[in-house]
């Protein structure tokens, strides 16, 4: 009866994406993604992953605290960093071809960086919006007892959750959700985009049974 639900669909491709950035500003005038990691999942299987360190031609510098939290390494950037133009075709291919784009707080943060990245490349990002699944929104929706009704549309529902006033004591960050779901993971390495994404995949595997998408 529920065979139409995404949790039973083994053919759909989900691309999980996470960006590490210089700071928390939502516009490229003051912030850029220096790491973009993606994991491609079909059904329950991870079929590919990508991890780009992106070397922007910019005067922007990562702050000390942000560098510490996100484990930014100038040496790694010098060694492995690629220009944004080199990383973009793969990112675009993956996102444009995905049936769904998944991220934790992607609607509250990453989408703005992705938007400006597309803009930097002279492209429009808006076709991605209706594919987005924000696991932070889904988690908060469950915690706030806001059930998802399919007729309202997933993106609209997620924005309703985004705009819901935060309630004291209700946590839904990735590490917290992982621990709440008793997920085994190396939590000490979080804030590396790829490590975050691996946890994000596991959190999605739990959440998808609680929301009828």
């Amino acid at each position: 009866m529920d065979s139409h639900l995404l949790r039973y669909d083994n053919k759909k491709t989900l691309v999980f994406i996470d960006c590490e950035t210089f700071n928390l500003c939502l516009n490229s005038c003051h912030n850029l993604p220096w790491q973009v990691a993606m994991i491609k999942v079909t059904g329950d299987k991870i079929i590919a992953s990508k991890d780009f360190l992106i070397k922007w031609d910019t005067k922007l510098k990562i702050g000390e605290e942000a560098a510490r939290i996100t484990r930014y390494s100038e040496k790694a950037m010098e060694k492995k960093g690629v220009p944004p133009e080199e990383a973009f075709p793969t990112i675009q291919d993956w996102l444009d071809d995905a049936d769904h784009i998944v991220g934790h707080n992607i609607l509250g943060f990453d989408i703005y960086l992705i938007k400006d990245y597309y803009k930097h490349m002279g492209l429009d990002y808006r076709h991605l919006m209706h594919k987005i699944i924000d696991t932070n929104c889904l988690a908060r929706g469950i915690k706030y007892d806001l059930p998802y009704k399919q007729e309202q549309g997933l993106l609209t529902y997620q924005y309703k959750v985004v705009h819901q006033r935060r309630r004291r004591g209700v946590k839904s960050n990735l590490a917290y959700m992982g621990k709440e779901f008793d997920i085994k993971h190396d939590y000490s390495k979080l804030h590396n985009a790829l490590v975050d994404l691996e946890l994000n995949v596991k959190v999605w595997d739990k959440l998808k049974w609680q929301v009828d998408i």
């Binding site: 700071n23 500003c25 003051h30 702050g63 703005y112 938007k115 924005y159 309703k160 705009h163």
Partner: protein, 267 residues
């Protein structure tokens, strides 16, 4: 006073209507209402100066209160500009009810004055909203609007952001409109925000069902050029007691709320 003519005439223009806001709407715009003579090279940009330099004969100024009116009127008149002044105000179900629920179910409307009589009516509405309806901010209700309404003198518009449609679609609040005293005009904007299309679809859907409503394309303008976004963001961060590194301002991502963007779209 003859400075306010018919808003309806202005709304018939092709293209997108620029909606200016000045620094009199505290924390919302970095544009001033200074006369072009008072604009300094590295100083803040002025709505009046922008209009004069770009041959706009009339302009809509949408403020959060009445404070900027005198300077806008004086400098518009000196520069032969037609000012159409409106207040973007919070409208709730009952302005005497001061509760969290009442706040969450309130939304924004814009009331434009079209005539001198409209100006008097607008002042009366805003004064009561600020005195009797004040709860965190001035609030009107539909009773207040209805009692002071005259289609000849005032025009009701539904802004693109924070309207009842925005609230009902993108939040869990439920704002109920009452349009039994006038027929509002619905504004449509495109500012490259990720949810713009969701609101636009909802506005189109609402406006095209039942009593068909007029929709017009508008552009809210808070700074002159795209490059000024960083200054605008800095200003917003200062007002928010936050920083550029952590602005803590929801959806503050678009550099499209500027005159340059309007100009690009309208040649």
């Amino acid at each position: 006073m003859t400075y306010l003519r018919n808003l309806d005439t202005l709304l018939l223009v092709d293209g997108t209507i620029p909606l200016f806001k000045s620094h009199y709407s505290i924390g919302r715009s970095i544009l001033t209402l200074n006369s072009p003579d008072d604009v300094k090279e590295n100083g803040p940009d002025s709505v009046i100066d922008i209009c004069v330099k770009n041959d706009l004969e009339k302009f809509l100024l949408v403020e959060d209160g009445m404070a900027g009116f005198l300077q806008a009127y004086t400098n518009a008149k000196e520069n032969n500009l037609q000012l159409i002044y409106g207040i973007r105000m919070t409208v709730c179900q009952d302005l005497t009810e001061k509760s969290d629920e009442s706040r969450s179910n309130s939304c924004k409307y814009i009331v434009f004055a079209k005539t001198s009589e409209g100006y008097s009516r607008l002042i009366k509405i805003y004064s009561i909203a600020a005195k009797d309806g004040f709860y965190y901010e001035p609030r009107a209700d539909f009773d207040l609007l209805r009692k002071n309404w005259s289609d000849k003198d005032l025009s009701l518009c539904v802004p693109f952001y924070d309207s009842f449609i925005f609230k009902n679609v993108l939040t869990t609040s439920m704002a109920v409109p009452e349009f039994n005293f006038t027929s509002p005009t619905f504004f449509l904007e495109e500012n490259d925000l990720p949810f713009d299309s969701l609101i636009a679809d909802a506005v189109d859907s609402f406006a095209s069902t039942g009593n068909k409503r007029e929709t017009v394309k508008t552009k809210s303008i808070y700074y002159k050029d795209k490059k000024d976004f960083k200054s605008y963001l800095t200003f917003r961060c200062i007002n928010n007691r936050s920083s550029l590194e952590r602005p803590n301002l929801d959806h503050m991502c678009s550099d499209e709320f500027c005159f340059e963007s309007w100009e690009n779209a309208n040649g």
